[in-house]
């Protein structure tokens, strides 16, 4: 009984990042704070995908990243396929960095995150401005990318703490 409970607890804990990713996609909860500070918004989904893909890719799973993107597109009213592509680009950069890096630290993660944000938002910009009728302001996209980059260390510390506390990072 104790073993079953322990296994269940471990599985639930492992699902934490995935639950957070889906929760952000499907609920009203957002990371847009323009009511408090006009330019303040960031993309927490990018941070979750990048951090956990760097640490443990099977924990999120490519399929779940794709499906969370589809849900996000429907809720936000974006052309379907836009968010999955940006999320998968982020995941791709993370896996590439994981394959070429021996030891991961906050600073290597943080600075390589710029590449991920750049390519993900470039994909977003190319798709929206060339293949849809939607207009976007470059400044809001820039501020969103900037704050996503700036807040990365904060979430890195939180996720790292979560990983150590729950034993996910035991084998790192």
């Amino acid at each position: 009984m104790a073993i079953i409970f322990k296994n269940f607890k471990r599985q639930f804990v492992n699902l934490g990042p995935l639950i957070l990713l889906y929760f952000l996609a499907i609920t009203e909860l957002d990371t847009e704070f323009s009511n408090y500070f006009t330019i303040l918004s960031f993309n927490l989904q990018f941070v979750i995908i990048y951090y956990w893909m760097l640490r443990d890719p099977p924990l999120l799973g490519n399929g779940h990243v794709f499906f969370a993107g589809i849900i996000n597109d429907i809720i936000m009213g974006l052309p379907m396929g836009t968010s999955p592509l940006t999320y998968l680009v982020t995941a791709f950069v993370a896996i590439y960095i994981k394959n070429v890096t021996v030891k991961m630290t906050l600073f290597t993660d943080w600075f390589t995150f710029i590449i991920a944000i750049f390519f993900a938002n470039l994909t977003y910009l190319l798709l929206i401005s060339n293949f849809s009728e939607l207009s976007i302001t470059y400044s809001s996209l820039f501020y969103n990318s900037l704050f996503t980059f700036l807040f990365y260390p904060l979430f890195w510390v939180i996720f790292n703490w979560y990983g150590i506390l729950t034993g996910i990072h035991r084998n790192d």
């Binding site: 009213g77 396929g81 998968l88």
Partner: protein
């Protein structure tokens, strides 16, 4: 040099194609699938429209259920705050009342101004009522903020007669227009979204312009005639020039900022919980 290029290729290939023991799909497969879905969704087809409509209804409903605990917590927080600050609010109100009593000398002026405003409101109301034949009340199901899109999801769709392009009112003020219709839900584009363009008329003048969303709180007036003269605080109404929106729907009051004419909207998009969709004979292709 050639070896390092080979290594780079191997790492890229490995990142794109490796699945590991627990992964069902490779990144390459999912990227191709996303591109395919994007292009299928970009080009109008009946099958894709129906699929998207079904998906939308299902996900909006799930999202509404998943969001209910957050809404409940927000409701509780607001109620608690109201309760805590009642005493303090009462004190402030008493002070304000004193202040207002002191300002009796202004009453006469205010009364005259009020009469004039009432006249303006009554006339716009008459115009509005003569134009509105039918409307549907709808509840705001989801209000997810986005830095790029300002839109809301309503709990009524094509089943209630809602069509693309129909105007949406918050009480008697214009809040936006319908841009996406599903069977059980619909999406409205708010006036401050970057993609929103509404033909308007300023006050009782014959000054026509386009109210254009700028992505921030206040939309601006574009295509004003050369050498225009506008008074601060003039009211902006729909002109009905597009043949879709009824004319005379109040939108907001104008103000000047950085050489631009901006509009402070009557409808507060952050406070919307119920809206009215006017069932006009709109044609989506006009947008």
């Amino acid at each position: 040099m050639s070896a390092s290029r080979d290594d780079f290729g191997i790492v890229i290939r490995s990142a794109l194609l490796q699945r590991g023991a627990k992964q069902k799909f490779s990144l390459f497969f999912l990227i191709c699938l996303s591109i395919l879905i994007f292009f299928l969704d970009s080009f109008p087809s009946k099958i894709m429209d129906k699929t998207r409509s079904l998906l939308n209804d299902g996900i909006y409903l799930t999202s509404s259920i998943a969001t209910s605990p957050i809404k409940f917590v927000t409701f509780l927080k607001d109620k608690t705050q109201d309760h805590i600050f009642t005493y303090q609010e009462n004190k402030i109100l008493k002070e304000e009342l004193k202040e207002f009593k002191k300002k009796n000398f202004q009453n006469e002026f205010l009364l005259t101004e009020n009469k004039n405003l009432k006249k303006a409101v009554d006339s716009s109301q008459e115009v509005l009522e003569s134009n509105i034949i039918n409307n549907v009340s709808a509840k705001v199901l989801l209000d997810k903020e986005s830095p790029f899109l300002k839109s809301l999801i309503l709990n009524k769709g094509s089943r209630s007669g809602i069509r693309k392009g129909m105007p949406v009112l918050d009480q008697n003020y214009l809040a936006g227009r319908v841009v996406e219709v599903n069977y059980l839900s619909s999406r409205i584009l708010l006036l401050n979204d970057l993609n929103s363009k509404i033909p308007i008329i300023v006050g009782n003048s014959a000054l026509h312009a386009i109210l254009s969303g700028s992505g921030d709180e206040y939309p601006k007036l574009e295509y004003l005639p050369e050498g225009f003269e506008l008074e601060d605080n003039s009211t902006v109404y729909t002109s009905g020039k597009d043949g879709i929106f009824p004319n005379g729907i109040p939108i907001g009051k104008i103000f000047f900022e950085n050489n631009e004419v901006k509009v402070k909207l009557f409808s507060d998009s952050n406070q919307l919980s119920f809206v009215h969709v006017i069932l006009t004979n709109s044609e989506s292709n006009k947008f």
